[in-house]
């Protein structure tokens, strides 16, 4: 009995690998835009800022099915952009693993932005001014002062996004369905097993696996954060 808890079927391993792939690509996809939007929200005032803020945070408060459905409307094969992408480039997003990446990216984006924004807003503007007075242009200031000093928070955001992506269910199943080997990620696989007779054991296996991954992610994030915090000095303040 205990043995069977650790013997994975090919389908289960496929779900695990797919989940990891989707989460990695999702994290890579939102890293740069996430930091950029976080910087805009933390440092700049511009027309439409609160609107941008609301739109970014919408997926946090909406039922996940809603963003999934909206993605279908926009990027689906008959969607505004989806149709164009298909006709011009022959790219299909809906009901593919790429779509799963997009769906979880939309859901994970606000977590990334929130964390990075908080970190950036805690970087002392005085240090940025000092860098400017030393001859650094705005890009150099960001790259050499703001970014390294907010790195712990940005890493936290990326780990949160990665974990959110691993656990994404609602938007994914709405936008890309539940296709074995293509879009059936861990949570979708668990759900599927709970819906069939005799699926409890494989479901339990995947549940344990999910928990192990979650614990590993949290531990890695803890280590990374501590490392980053040590690298940027004792505190973000200068005294």
């Amino acid at each position: 009995m205990l043995d069977s808890l650790f013997t994975f079927s090919a389908a289960e391993i496929a779900a695990l690998v797919l989940s990891a792939k989707v989460a990695v690509f999702c994290t890579l996809l939102i890293a740069m835009p996430g930091v950029a939007v976080a910087w805009l929200l933390a440092r700049k005032s511009f027309f439409g800022k609160s609107l941008l803020d609301s739109v970014v945070h919408m997926p946090l408060v909406l039922p996940p099915v809603v963003p999934g459905f909206l993605l279908l409307l926009v990027l689906g094969s008959q969607g505004v952009i989806g149709k164009w992408l298909n006709e011009v480039f022959g790219i299909t997003i809906a009901f593919t693993w790429v779509g799963a990446v997009v769906a979880s990216a939309v859901m994970a984006f606000p977590l990334m932005v929130r964390s990075a924004r908080l970190a950036i807003s805690q970087v002392d503007i005085g240090l940025e001014k000092a860098a400017q007075s030393l001859g650094a242009n705005p890009f150099k200031v960001f790259w050499s002062v703001t970014l390294p000093l907010s790195m712990p928070g940005i890493l936290t955001g990326l780990i949160l996004a990665f974990s959110r992506s691993l656990g994404e269910f609602g938007a994914t199943i709405t936008f890309v369905g539940n296709i074995e080997g293509e879009t059936r990620t861990l949570p979708l696989a668990i759900y599927t097993y709970t819906q069939v007779p005799g699926g409890d054991l494989p479901a339990m296996r995947l549940v344990i696996l999910s928990m192990l991954i979650a614990i590993a992610a949290l531990m890695i994030s803890e280590v990374l954060e501590r490392k980053a915090a040590r690298r940027v000095g004792l505190a973000t303040n200068h005294d």
Partner: protein
């Protein structure tokens, strides 16, 4: 040479600065909230003036005319080449001292570098600290690194915004000599902001006084002090006269120090007057060292003859240079080897027939002399 003509209005606060500073070090002095930091911010480019112009050594960094927008210039902060040292050192916490120092140096094209990296490191004695992180440094060390970091960008002008304000007296004493070393060995004009006049006078006699956003005057300290508005301000600070004197001896038991006021000691040449002695409250300064003492104009009495049988210890002989009327006050400036301003009544002026060129004795009680905190 720094040519300032800057205006800025925010709510009820109006900045109005029009001056030319051409000293090696100009002290910018004024009470808190006077607009000292705002002025520095406008020079550095952090704060945008409403109108005016800023020209440093013939290079225009800012120009704004309402009617001729095509003539406007606003050089971005990072291209102004104006070094800044802040009250809080603002060292980059994630970089070592060496990387902090090299930050601006590396951004500067080699042809624009006026100093070698090691030259500044040696000048400020930073070699021992290079591998450390800012959080391992003391307050004074941090400011030295911040100073070196700014100098290494070979700035056109170095702005020091109360760089010693967060340090205790002991640390101030440790860092001021470095500032003087920089002044003497490195030819970069500096504007030194402080509300501690003794710090400023340690470095320079050239001051600009600012209050309520307005520059009240700029020039030699004793000249600026004669401006009635400056005098009013200085009056509240008890700082109308500052003399640089050399400690001659101490009388610890009786609680006083005797110092010499020599013609060549003060920065203002006194025409051929011999050195005179000054009794002042006891200061803990080694004999032979120079100290600055201040005395309010209202604490100086004048006499046409030396007096005997009075308790007043100090009778400094000098020559009347100038007489000015400020409202109800009469101010007489007298060269005693250093220029003193005495406040007397209009009646006394008439009775004693005080006119420029006349020799006169300045009577100053020992206890009305206030030694300024820093020795040279």
């Amino acid at each position: 040479m720094i040519e300032l003509n800057l205006q800025r209005r925010r709510g009820a606060f109006e900045m109005q600065v029009n001056a030319t500073l051409n000293a090696a070090v100009s002290g910018l002095f004024g009470p808190s909230g006077a607009g000292k930091s705002s002025l520095l911010g406008m020079i550095a480019g952090f704060i945008r003036p409403d109108s005016g112009s800023l020209v440093i050594d013939g290079i225009c960094l800012f120009h704004h005319e309402k009617n001729r927008p095509e003539k406007n210039i606003d050089v971005p902060i990072h291209q102004r080449r104006i070094g800044m040292v802040f009250q809080e050192s603002r060292l980059f916490p994630h970089l070592s001292v060496e990387d902090n120092l090299a930050y601006g140096y590396k951004l500067l094209p080699a042809k624009d570098r006026r100093f070698e990296f090691n030259q500044i490191v040696e000048l400020l004695e930073l070699g021992r600290l290079l591998a450390q992180k800012p959080h391992q440094l003391s307050g004074g060390e941090k400011q030295r690194v911040a100073l070196g970091r700014a100098l290494l960008t070979s700035p056109r002008l170095l702005l020091l915004d109360e760089p010693l304000a967060s340090l205790d007296v002991r640390l101030k004493h440790q860092i001021l000599p470095f500032l003087r070393r920089v002044k003497n060995e490195i030819n970069i004009p500096m504007v030194y902001v402080s509300h501690a006049i003794d710090e400023i006078l340690y470095l320079t006699n050239h001051v600009a006084i600012i209050d309520h956003g307005e520059l009240l005057g700029a020039g030699q300290f004793h000249e600026v002090m004669q401006d009635p508005r400056v005098l009013t301000l200085a009056h509240s600070l008890g700082l109308e006269n500052v003399m640089h004197v050399e400690v001659a001896s101490h009388s610890v038991q009786d609680g006083y120090t005797i110092a010499t006021l020599g013609a060549n000691l003060g920065t203002n040449s006194g025409g051929g007057l011999g050195s005179q002695q000054l009794h002042m409250p006891l200061v803990e300064v080694v004999v032979g060292k120079t100290v600055s003492v201040s005395v309010a104009a209202s604490n100086i009495a004048l006499s046409t003859h030396p007096l005997s049988g009075v308790t007043i210890q100090n009778q400094l002989y000098g020559v009347v240079k100038d007489i000015s009327h400020v409202g109800m006050r009469v101010l007489v400036s007298i060269d005693v080897g250093s220029v003193l301003i005495a406040e007397i009544t209009a009646k006394a002026l008439q009775d004693l027939r005080i006119v420029p060129g006349k020799g006169i004795y300045c009577l100053i009680k020992t206890q009305s002399l206030r030694p300024l905190a820093l020795s040279n």
